[in-house]
């Protein structure tokens, strides 16, 4: 079909607008990357940098020489790995059980889980619970309360619902009990979906900030997000008192190097996330 003149104008505009949207989205990330690789002295002198004249790894070298930063990366990696594993086990087992229609009490349990989605007791009761469990300043305080959520259970249950029940019938005739069926038949079947859920959990743990702020006062246990926030706040305070004639150290390139390190793991898993999320987000947002 031949395009009319109006169509072509429309197409050109559309392509242009979307290019602008993409550039506006991408530019801050690009700028962070550039600043983090810029020579610290050049950054202070120059007006603004779109492409640095002198590339430098100085910020990264300094960053990775500090114990605090290495520590925080280690903590976040630990949370992402151990937390994700625990989350997957707890969520998938409960979701699978709740997807078995013959189960007695299934509706009541689902109702009770739905209530936790609708009503949140608030920050303080959760905080006091973690305190009473003696989990303050323990990394488990970032894993146990965040193991799963009603949403994740509903999402996963929806997925297990689609696995035909005949599969397990044949296995139970072969003498497997329900746990063996779950491990030997259901889990291998659902590996791709579990991997997708795992990525979401991992991103959640890596990005976790609020719980760490609440439950960790010991700075040696800070995950990367909290360390990053403290680097930022420090800068913000000097910003607020910028009338004082004290030149802050070239902390900006350092901070941006930390931002890049905190972003890279997300970018690494992003292609896999993107492959899966359209479906997951659909189920999660429309149907409980």
């Amino acid at each position: 079909m031949k395009e009319s003149f109006g169509d072509r104008v429309f197409n050109a505009f559309n392509i242009l607008i979307l290019a602008l949207v993409a550039i506006c989205t991408f530019f801050p990330l690009y700028y962070v990357l550039v600043v983090s690789f810029t020579d610290p002295t050049e950054y202070l002198k120059s007006k603004f940098i779109i492409f640095p004249r002198h590339w430098s790894l100085a910020s990264y070298e300094y960053l990775f020489s500090t114990r605090a930063f290495l520590n925080s990366v280690g903590v976040s990696a630990f949370l992402a790995v151990v937390g994700t594993a625990c989350s997957l086990v707890v969520s998938s087992s409960l979701a699978y059980v709740l997807s078995r229609k013959r189960l007695r009490g299934r509706r009541i349990i689902l109702m009770l889980i739905l209530i936790t989605i609708l009503f949140n007791p608030g920050i303080i009761p959760n905080y006091l619970l973690v305190r009473n469990l003696n989990l303050i300043n323990s990394l488990w305080s970032l894993i146990l309360p965040a193991l799963t959520s009603g949403w994740y259970i509903m999402l996963m249950k929806g997925f297990f619902d689609s696995i035909p029940q005949e599969l397990e019938e044949s296995a139970s005739i072969d003498g497997c009990n329900d746990i063996a069926i779950w491990i030997k038949i259901i889990l291998p079947l659902s590996l791709p979906s579990l991997a997708a859920f795992g990525l979401f959990f991992a991103v959640g743990y890596w990005n976790q900030f609020f719980n760490a702020l609440l439950y960790l006062t010991d700075s040696s246990k800070w995950p990367i997000q909290v360390l990053l926030q403290n680097m930022l706040i420090g800068a913000n305070n000097t910003e607020l008192s910028s009338d004082v004639f004290v030149q802050p150290p070239p902390a900006e390139t350092l901070k941006m190097a930390a931002v890049v390190v905190a972003t890279v793991p997300i970018l690494l898993v992003y292609p896999f996330l993107q492959k899966h999320f359209a479906k997951g987000a659909m189920v999660g947002s429309v149907k409980g």
């Binding site: 009319s4 109006g6 429309f10 197409n11 559309n14 392509i15 979307l18 949207v21 989205t25 991408f26 801050p28 990330l29 700028y31 962070v32 007006k47 086990v89 707890v90 969520s91 087992s93 409960l94 059980v97 078995r100 189960l103 349990i109 889980i113 936790t116 949140n120 007791p121 920050i123 303080i124 009761p125 959760n126 905080y127 006091l128 619970l129 305190r131 009603g150 009990n177 890596w206 990005n207 900030f209 997000q225 909290v226 990053l228 926030q229 930022l232 913000n236 910003e239 900006e252 941006m256 931002v259 905190a262 972003t263 992003y270 993107q274 999320f277 987000a281 659909m282 429309v286 149907k287």
Partner: protein, 327 residues
Amino acid sequence: MNKPKPMEMASRIPQSSSVPKRSRSYFDTLWKDIRRDKYLYLLALPGLLFFLIFKYVPLYGILISFQNYSPFAGMMHSPWVGFEHFQRFFSNPDFAMLFRNTMAISLLRLVLFFPLPIILSLLLNELNSVIYKRVVQTVVYMPHFLSWVIIASLTFLLLAKGDGLVNKIFESLGWAKVDYLTNPNLFWLMLTIQSIWKETGWGTIMFLAAIASVDPQLYEAARMDGANRLRLMWHVTLPAMRTVIVILLILRLGEIMDVGFEQVFLMYNGAVSQVAEVFDTYVYRVGVQQGQFSYSTAVGLFKSVVGLILVVFANWLAKKFGEEGVY
């Protein structure tokens, strides 16, 4: 076998029941079913324990909002004070401020942010090149996965007064520097722009899915009738998205009390405190930092109850509109 309770009930209840036979067989099959599925219950145990401990025990903790809770005395021995903390909160000028800030941030987000994913998905849908569409999608979805700490870092990098990019450009143009981050007049708008940058792309997913489900014959028929591209968009694509738009709009209404602790907390500073304090940040400051547990639990409970009413109302509204509802 290690759950004798239903068995006891089964033997006890028939005596007082008027239809003993039926009850007996009901509890017998119940018990048999439970025994048959004992491994399933075992499998569910860790998850059930999680919900019991981390979702239901805190519900019990709400009671301290009616007490003068002291961590040393514990809940058992703290004195009860009824609605004192609620009265204190409602008569406190902070209450009006928190309410205003929360509403302002939520409504700005609703008005300025909500239409954008709809427009963006319409534009994406009109692209002829599949590759270009995928590239744009890949870029605009990405910020959704970044943490608020990173978003705040980017905001500082771009907008800080001293060496933020925008002010560096202004300086080189000979313009005066603007302090965006400590300006109370700009704070709400800045939060909205952050949300737009982070979530607009991600927000298109639902709408694109709705568009993808449109029957191509509809476009064909409309084109036969002489509709141009804009008319196709208006008369075919948009009506197909209506259900999703209504549901999402109602969902957002239900979430109006939630403005996101992390985002607001990270952009908070002394200069903007009067416009930046929302319920969650207030609870954190007063409760966790100052240790007024009972008072802050009362504040949190007020927010949760209003939130619950809004969500239930929103769901009722969705069903009223002939949609499926969310639960």
